[in-house]
Amino acid sequence: FSTFPGLPKWRKNDLTYRIVNYTLDLPRSVIDSTIEKALKIWEEVTPLTFSKISEGEADIMITFAVREHGDFSPFDGPGKVLAHAYAPGPGIYGDAHFDDDEQWTKDTSGVNLFLVAAHELGHSLGLFHSTDSNALMYPVYNPLTDLARFRLSQDDVNGIQSLYGPPPASPPEPVEPTESTPPEPGTPATCDPALSFDAISTLRGEILFFKDRHFWRKSFRRLEPEFHLISSFWPPLPSSIDAACEVISKDTVFIFKGTQFWAIRGNDVQPGYPRSIHTLGFPSTVKKIDAAISDKETKKTYFFVEDKYWRFDEKRQSMEPGFPKQIVEDFPGVEPKVDAVFEAFGFFYFFNGSSQFEFDPNAKKVTHVLKSNKWLNC
């Protein structure tokens, strides 16, 4: 995915839209519901909400037009350019224009309005084009898309969430705190306010929260996290783990327990593991790793052990000199004992007991302190 140069995004979550005029190709009610549906797919994976207004200036003004239509980007008649839209901002920014020389249809007998509207509204929210030909934000219209089973691709979800984050844990309207379902004997209660985690890692756009023999699997395409036994996915792994981190450039998650570590790729535990953590460059005094995170931007992996941390250079495949350092030295505000850590939307989330610390690595400061299980819709 990509975002517009300068990263324009809406500075509020509750946006308005207005359908300024209607193509005669479809009944108005169909156009209204189609646009609403196109907005909903973005609403489901972000904190954004969209309200329709019928007059005045909305954040997103939707118009149908032909040829020159007042924005120096004239349409070109049937075919070729179908529509265009503008990045978030005032006035024409955020607006979406549809070429009414196209035959707009509800199916794909003509140009499918839902597909094009969903794409253009992605621009209105701040997404630029994607090189992933399966992504909605790929620039070329694909009339073969299966409308009945349409879903945003992970690339689209990653893109929009890099701008606005995931949907709120609880539904927008306040609800009574749900009683956490009594855990079966031996399984942790998801919404236990005292819940802590052994390890957390991303995995191909999802987040895995490890606790004892189990883990929660959080995908941004499903509201409810799944709950599984570790052994049901990766039988060779130990029954509980100390730390986990994904090295995206290797499409691999490394799992740590005691002085050993494993490498998993998707469902497969890689051959040649477990290996000793001392092969990574740890001194023999280190008997276990508390938490690990690999920064895809800098290609450095951070290992947290008690109140210190080491840094491993993924390019050189060696531990960096000058370590260990005190955690508080470079991660001020983070409790010196780290249970788990992962990265999302450019922030590091450090977990300590039932709390998590959102840390901005650029500003080098904690920006929020949250409950550990907030990511599990509690």
Partner: protein, 82 residues
């Protein structure tokens, strides 16, 4: 540049290619005359950039596969630069 003339039939005038690269790949307009020269490495680079972005084989030539995708309906927002 080494244009595969056979593939560029009357509909695929160099104007169409020129406009596509200007509209979506930031080919600046002041190289208009350059496109007609056969050795414009800038235009070859732009074609390669487009082919890479669209997931096509990066040949730097206007082969039929590339031209076919270029003619498909698309969004009017550029692919690079804005």
């Amino acid at each position: 540049y080494p244009v595969d003339r056979a593939a560029v039939d009357k509909d695929d005038s160099m104007d169409f290619v020129q406009k596509y690269l200007e509209d979506y790949y930031n080919l600046t307009k002041d190289v208009k005359q350059v496109v007609r020269r056969k050795d414009s490495s800038l235009v070859v680079k732009k074609i390669q950039e487009m082919q890479k972005f669209l997931g096509l084989e990066v040949t730097g030539k206007l082969d039929s596969n590339t031209l076919e995708v270029m003619h498909k309906p698309r969004c009017g927002v550029p692919d690079v630069g804005y």
